[in-house]
Symmetry: C2
Subunit: 336 residues, 2 copies
DNA sequence: ACCTAAAAATAAAACGTTTCACTTCTAAGG
DNA sequence: CCTTAGAAGTGAAACGTTTTATTTTTAGGT
């Protein structure tokens, strides 16, 4: 069945194009009697407006495009969900794509969104430097980056206090007598990794201790790779504590711990990143750094709507606070 | 900066609209020299075509809309990822929305996709009966349902052999001496739950045993609710085996098992549903039913492309096979 | 040089809406 | 019964493309 157009509705209801359009956009200034006729006609023809034609002329779509690395990373999945809930409640639609950590795919997705006149773009970027994002210059809608900061890019950034919370965490481990703390983190050049590593150094410095760089390991954001590398490293390195500094590494650590039958916290103390139900899933309960996902979503939403009202976008950089949740996976090994 | 249009490119390159358009759509029949001019102009103006105008006239968007219940359910998240990868490789874009198990939101999302002229629609439906989907009749593009069957709806369905694989699973438990098998499954009326429960009955019947209906518990698809209900039930019911018949219940079971310090398989035998890395995460390795997610995605992709070529859609119903993976979480309790 | 056929370029129509400047209708006030 | 202002309705233009029928250019053969 061919899709009905507004012209069909006009003919069927015996009214003009303009009147039907007026009805569709708020029905102010259309007679009661005619409103009924139009309603009837629409029902008969199963008419629904073509958003392509509408968007073409209004230039507004009430839709927001979101690009995240992948759904399989529960941190991003949950962030996407929260955003969809927050923004959806305002009558906006959120559509999501994955970049799979590939800047080309990310670009393709963002340009798809842009050429479909999204009202705003939200992205958890996977590129490392500003040149990767040159193509955004031709896009005339608000753009919001989440999670990762990219130097030299003048857009909105919503971040967390990676450095400070890691500093707190490592200080806690040091204060419990740990000296050989293995940190597993995403590759160099990513804002979050670099900041988290900086926090590690800060803590050691605060306590007047020297960092053994060999204990900082970089692994791509992939659970399987994390599992493999952590297993290998744990077998060949002496350490009393393990700090997994992102979600895939936390998962990978737990796989390894199970596989090698390591007893937490007796054989090894452990701190993870991104709660994601993991504290409930594992026994004993895991000490964790937890990102304020709901807060990030709410804040991003607020900024999106503020930016959409502006003519010239005034972008800001914001850092929200993570929680350091102390449970039972770290042992006090100080000699008394 | 105002976005450049094809007219600007035409002016800048000193050529006509039609020529530029020809260039954009394959550049056959445009002089080498002029191709260069156009390329230049496009680069200068940072021009990119407006897909709204283009879609309006071509009626083709090379985009597929996908609606799933939620990203937080790793089974759906992974299904979405696989689909995006499979379909993306053909030059199509996949955009995703969540329904949050709400038929109204599902409807809104599907209609959004339809009015944006998606080339096809894919949905893991959350509605229980055909009336919920009346509105689809006005949509003239191929529609593919995944995971859930809904009686009376003439669309493409890609399902799995829920009943048979559960039959196998329960037979295995019975053959290991278990008689009081607690099954936790999603609410009545959902195709997957009902089929899985049917498999439970089949197995008991095959072994000439009677089902204790009290041991079949229905819980909404929500990890927290699953956790709460399973904990309560386990404390007040005698059973030697627990069969969690979907992803949230599997997760919820593991939370409970940890919380109550139940030892698997000595205190209780356990079988879960939807592998999702869980066999690696838990010790001992869990016996599981695993859905062929990649296969579902590949098959769905094939059907999508077949359907898009047809004039009148010839829909089919397909069932793919799950695996029953035996590991170490079920104890043989037969008296020898 | 001239003719012709093929190749390239063009201009106008079409897609399905909203918007805007008009026209027509309605009802209240004199 | 006439006037008039406000409400309701109308039809054409516009949005940025592709498509088409048509015109212009190019190049090959005599």
């Amino acid at each position: 069945m061919k899709k009905a157009t507004i012209k069909d509705v006009a003919r069927e209801s015996g009214l003009s194009l303009g009147t039907v359009s007026k009805y569709l956009n708020g029905s102010r200034g259309v007679k009661q009697a005619n409103q009924i006729k139009i309603k009837q006609a629409i029902a008969n023809l199963r008419y629904s407006p073509d958003e392509y034609a509408r968007g073409l002329i209004t230039n507004k779509t009430k839709t927001i495009g979101l690009v995240i690395p992948e759904f399989n990373n529960l941190f991003y999945a949950q962030l996407a969900s929260e955003l969809e809930l927050a923004i959806g409640s305002e009558g906006y639609t959120v559509v999501v794509c994955e970049s799979f950590y590939d800047t080309e795919r990310e670009k393709k997705n963002l340009l798809w969104f842009a050429s479909h006149r999204m009202s705003a773009l939200v992205v958890v970027p996977c590129g490392k430097n500003a040149e990767n994002y040159d193509y955004l210059k031709s896009i005339d809608i608000p753009i919001i980056f989440l999670d990762q900061y990219i130097a030299g890019l003048n857009y909105e950034f919503v971040l967390v206090n990676n450095r400070e919370v890691c500093e707190t965490c490592i200080e806690y481990l040091l204060d419990n007598g740990h000296r050989d703390i293995l940190m597993v983190v995403a590759p160099k050049g990513l804002y979050t990794s670099d900041e988290r590593v900086n926090g590690y150094y800060d803590a050691y410095e605060n306590r007047g201790l020297n960092v053994n760089e060999d204990l900082i390991m970089r692994v791509e954001e992939n659970i399987d790779k994390a599992y493999y590398c952590i297993k290998k490293k744990l077998q060949e390195t002496r350490c009393t504590a393990l700090f997994a500094a992102n979600f895939p590494n936390t998962f990978g650590s737990i796989f390894t711990i199970n596989e090698l039958k390591i007893s937490i916290p007796d054989d090894l103390s452990f701190v993870g990143f991104d709660d994601m139900m993991l504290t409930k899933l594992f026994r004993p309960k895991l000490t964790m750094i937890d990102q304020p996902i709901a807060e990030i979503a709410m804040f991003a939403k607020r900024r999106i709507f503020e930016l959409m009202l502006q003519k010239n976008f005034e972008y800001r950089i914001t850092k929200l606070n993570c929680s350091f949740l102390v449970y039972d996976s770290v042992k006090d090994i100080r000699v008394k």
